[in-house]
Amino acid sequence: MTAKNSLKRLTLLALPLAAVAASTAHADEWAPTRSIEYIAPANPGGGWDTLVRTTARVIQEEGLAERNFAAINVPGGGGAVAWAQIARDSGNPHKLFAASPPIILVPLAGTSRYDHSDFTPIARLITDYSIVLVSADSDYESLTDLVEAIRDNPGLSVGGGSAPGSMDHIAMAGMASAAGLNASDINYVPFSGGGEAMTNLMGGHVEAVITGAGEASGQLEEGSDIRAIGVSAPERMGGVLADVPTYQEQGIDYTFDIWRGVMGAPDMPAEAVAYYEDLFAQMLETDGWASARDQLGWIDAYQGSEEFGAFLDEQKEQFSEVLSELGLRGE
C-alpha cells in the first residue's frame, strides 16, 4: 500500500470517527459477524441493482471483506417497499442498500413514509449527470436557444424518463428556473424510461429530451439522429461527451448530480459505519473497480458518511425548492 493511499484513507476515517462520541473512537475494530444483506430496492437489471452487484463482486474478488455481500432484490414502489422493510430493522449492522436521488424525491412526492433521514448514510460512491438532447436537425444549437424557445412557447414538449416530480423533471425544471424561466413552464412529458424518451425524440414526437448522460452517451456517436446541447456537470465530461458544453458554460448557473451511494439500516452503530466507509473507500482504489467503473461509464464521487449525510440534506432542500416552485410540494 502506498503512503498516499493510506494517508487518504486516514483522512477519510478521521471525519466520521471524530463525529461520533469519544467512547466509540476506541471500538474501531468492528467487523461483520455474518453475511451482509445488500439490498437493491429494485428488480435485477436497473441502476441500483447494477451498483449492488458490481460493488459486491469487486469486494469479493479483491478479498476486501471476510463476509459475503449477498445481493437481494426488493423491488416495488420505486424503492418504497424496500425502505419500509429496512426501516423496521433499526440498528442492524448487517443491512445495506443502494441509494440515489429517488430516496429524497419519492418521499417528497408522498409515496414513501421514509426518507434519507431515517437511514444511516454510509458513502456516496459515483455520479452521473443529466443531459439535454434535441434531434440532430433541430434549430436549437445551444441550451440558450432551447430556453428562449420555451420562453416563447411554453407548450414545447420536453420528454423525460420518469414521472413528473421525479428525477428528470426536477433536473429540467431546476435548470429552467436557474435560466430565468418559470419551472412550471416546462411542458414535461413523462415516458417510462430514458430509452423510450430518446426513441420519441428520434421520431420527432417531442422537441427535446432530458435523461442521464451515461444512458445517452451510446446515442451520441457520429451519424446519430440526436444531439446533446448541455450537460449538468460542473465541468466537461470525457469520451463522446467531451464536446458537450455544461450548463454553466452557457450562462446557466446550475448543476445536477445523479449520484449513487450506499446507505444502511437506521441507527447503525458508529463502528459499523466506520468499517463500511473504510471498506468502500478501499474498494474504490482497486483495479477491479476501475475497470468495472470505466466499462459502466461511472464517475467516482466518494463521500464519507458525514459528508454524504450533509450532502443529502442539502439535496433535499434543493429539490423541495424546485418542487415548491412547480407546485408539486405535498402537504
Binding site: P44, A70, A71, I72, N73, P164, S184, L326, G327, L328
Partner: protein
C-alpha cells in the same frame, strides 16, 4: 316475487363493485400542473362503463352455466374435509400459510411441506415417491435460483 337468476345476482354484485370503484375514483386528487387528462378520468369512465355493463348483465338471460356437474352421492358421502368445496378452501388456507411462513421458516422447508402435504391431501398415497419428487423439485429450483442465478431466497431455519 321470483327468484333472481344468476346473471341478476352477478349484475347486482358487479354494480356494487362499480359504485365502490367510482367512489374511490372521485377521491383521486387533482394534479397541480395542468394536464389535458388527469389521473381520475380513466377510472371514472371505467367505473361508469362497468356499471352500465352490470345493468346489461342484469337484463341478459343466463345461458347454460359452466357449473360443475351435480355433486354425486359418493362425493357427498365423503367426510366434510374431502368434499369438493372443502378442497378448494383448505388448499387456499395452505397457500396463505405458505405465504406467511415462507420468510421465517425458509424456502426449502415450506415449499417441501406444501408440495408434499397437498399431494397427500389430494389423495396420493405413495409417500416415498411423493417425498422424493417434492424434495427433488424444490431442491432443484432452490439451487438453480440461489446458486445458478444468484437470486436470494429466504433461508429460514436451515443453514443453507
Amino acid at each position: 316475487m321470483t327468484r333472481l337468476n344468476s346473471n341478476q345476482i352477478l349484475g347486482l354484485i358487479i354494480a356494487l363493485l362499480a359504485v365502490g370503484y367510482l367512489a374511490m375514483a372521485f377521491q383521486i386528487p387533482d394534479f397541480p400542473l395542468p394536464r389535458p387528462i388527469d389521473s381520475d378520468l380513466f377510472p371514472k369512465v371505467l367505473g361508469f362503463t362497468l356499471f352500465g355493463l352490470a345493468v346489461m348483465l342484469f337484463l341478459e338471460k343466463p345461458k347454460d352455466r359452466d357449473i360443475p356437474d351435480e355433486i354425486g352421492p359418493e362425493e357427498r358421502a365423503k367426510p366434510l374435509l374431502l368434499r369438493p368445496w372443502s378442497r378448494v378452501v383448505i388448499t387456499s388456507l395452505a397457500i396463505v400459510a405458505y405465504a406467511l411462513l415462507l420468510v421465517p421458516v425458509g424456502f426449502v422447508l415450506t415449499s417441501l411441506a406444501l408440495s408434499f402435504g397437498l399431494a397427500w391431501y389430494f389423495g396420493y398415497r405413495r409417500h416415498g415417491v411423493n417425498l422424493a419428487t417434492s424434495l427433488g423439485v424444490v431442491l432443484l429450483l432452490y439451487l438453480a435460483m440461489t446458486r445458478g442465478m444468484d437470486v436470494y431466497l429466504p433461508q429460514g431455519i436451515l443453514p443453507f
